[in-house]
Amino acid sequence: MLVQLSSMPHPIAIHIHEGGDVNEKPKVSEPKLVLRDVNFYYGRAQALFKVNITVPKNQVTAFIGPSGCGKSTLLRCLNRLNDLVEGARLDGTILLDGVDLYSSQVDVTDLRTRVGMVFQKSNPFPKPIYDNVAYGPRLQGIRTRADLDPIVEESLRGAGLWDEVKDRLWESALGLSGGQQQRLCIARALAVKPDVLLMDEPCSALDPIATGRIEELLFALKDALTIVIVTHNMQQAARVSDSTGFFLMGELIEFADTKKIFTTPDDRRTEDYITGRFG
């Protein structure tokens, strides 16, 4: 029997940032993703060590850390993209709305519908803009223009791209600028109505204006979605995220409110990294 992840009841509310100092009021938020003792291996090489994180619902969570620290690996565990890597193995538990993602009963296609992903380099299909967005819904069996049109419009609006492309929906997506292509990829991810959006360095190839648009988009999207973003740009993490996790050599060193991480981190290694004292 397949478990429909989206139909599971919500777990109880929890306090994020427990035991904080007297100056901080605890934020109450529902958990969306819960990771318990997650270890991950590429063959014999261990890439993640006992990671425990609770990703709150309807918030932006950022993972930061130097190259090779495991943050992208972890992101890819969240929609089982690593299943496609030869010799990759995960132990520990990852719960999405309380359901174990790695249970044999989970339909991976259904999971990737619920947990969408946007990559570092925009990767639109060499097809018209419209077809890029309609691609996922069509796979789900939605065929008629009457059904697809509103989905395409809503998704493009959601990605802040509608006004720029509404008159050229049938032109190739490859004619769009880099920033527009990246927003198109976000629209494509939104079209299947995910609850979680994973973003792996979504702005690293974009200019500051396009980056600003995507960052603004994150604020708008988090009302409906839970967003997990991996970024090398610490100022970006500071600007857009509610919580931040700092990774180092496969270990989660510190996870807390973004405000705390960037003003008064607890761990010296976090502080050294965000102040550029590393190495």
Binding site: D21, V22, N23, M234, Q235, A238, F262, T263, T264, P265, T270, E271, I274, T275, G276, R277, F278, G279
Partner: protein
């Protein structure tokens, strides 16, 4: 790893120290002008306030530049924002030294009401607090900063004591009222100086520990 930012932070710290030294001299000078009834010195101190103001603006400009261009985080960020605020506190202390000199000049125009005993004591306490709060800033010593905060009550007590004494003068002889009020003002200025030193110390606790203890939060 060497960071260009470290050099910048060091020079910002040096500027705060220079300002602190200058401000201590202003308060000491104001006291001497009062006790020794030296109006020339008082005028010199009033004039020197410009130097402190210039440094205050420089610290602000340096700090703003670092915030805009270096995007500091964590302890760097706390250091820079603290430096900005400390500079404001020091500038206010210098203003109060200037106020003491203004009252001293006025008092010099009349015979001395009484020998100054409590005023120099208060001034020494206040100066000690200024000095120690700056020491705490330089060495990042939040324990010392907390001890400075604790001294504030003592200066407050001295102010009240002096006020009661001056009140008795005024009740006995209305001729003394103008002078007694001027001395009361001076006591109040010294008490304010101790308050500003306390603020500096509280800022140092934030800089070192990331804890806000101002307004009796989290003491």
């Amino acid at each position: 790893m060497h960071r260009h930012l470290d050099d910048e932070l060091k020079s910002l710290k040096a500027k705060i120290l220079r300002m602190g030294g200058l401000v201590e001299e202003q308060v000491q000078g104001a006291l001497r002008a009062l006790v020794e009834r030296d109006a020339d010195l008082a005028r010199k101190i009033i004039d020197n306030d410009r130097l402190v103001n210039t440094l205050d603006v420089e610290v602000d400009e340096d700090a703003l530049r670092l915030l805009a261009l270096q995007q500091p985080a964590a302890r760097d960020l706390r250091f820079i924002t603290t430096a900005m605020k400390i500079s404001t506190e020091l500038e206010r202390i210098s203003d109060l030294a200037e106020n003491i000199c203004e009252r001293a000049i006025e008092l010099n125009e009349e015979p001395q009401l009484k020998p100054y005993i409590d005023i120099p004591r208060m001034a020494n306490w206040a100066l000690q607090m200024v000095k120690e709060s700056l020491d705490a800033f330089v060495s990042g010593d939040s324990d010392l900063a907390r001890r400075v905060c604790a001294n504030d009550d003592f200066v407050d007590d001295l102010t009240h004591q002096l006020f009661r004494e001056l009140l008795s003068f005024m009740l006995e002889n209305p001729q003394t009222i103008t002078r007694a009020i001027r001395i009361t003002f001076i006591a109040k200025y010294l008490e304010r100086i101790a308050d500003h030193a306390t603020n500096v110390a509280e800022l140092v606790v934030y800089m070192v520990e990331g804890k806000i203890i101002r307004h009796t939060l989290g003491r």
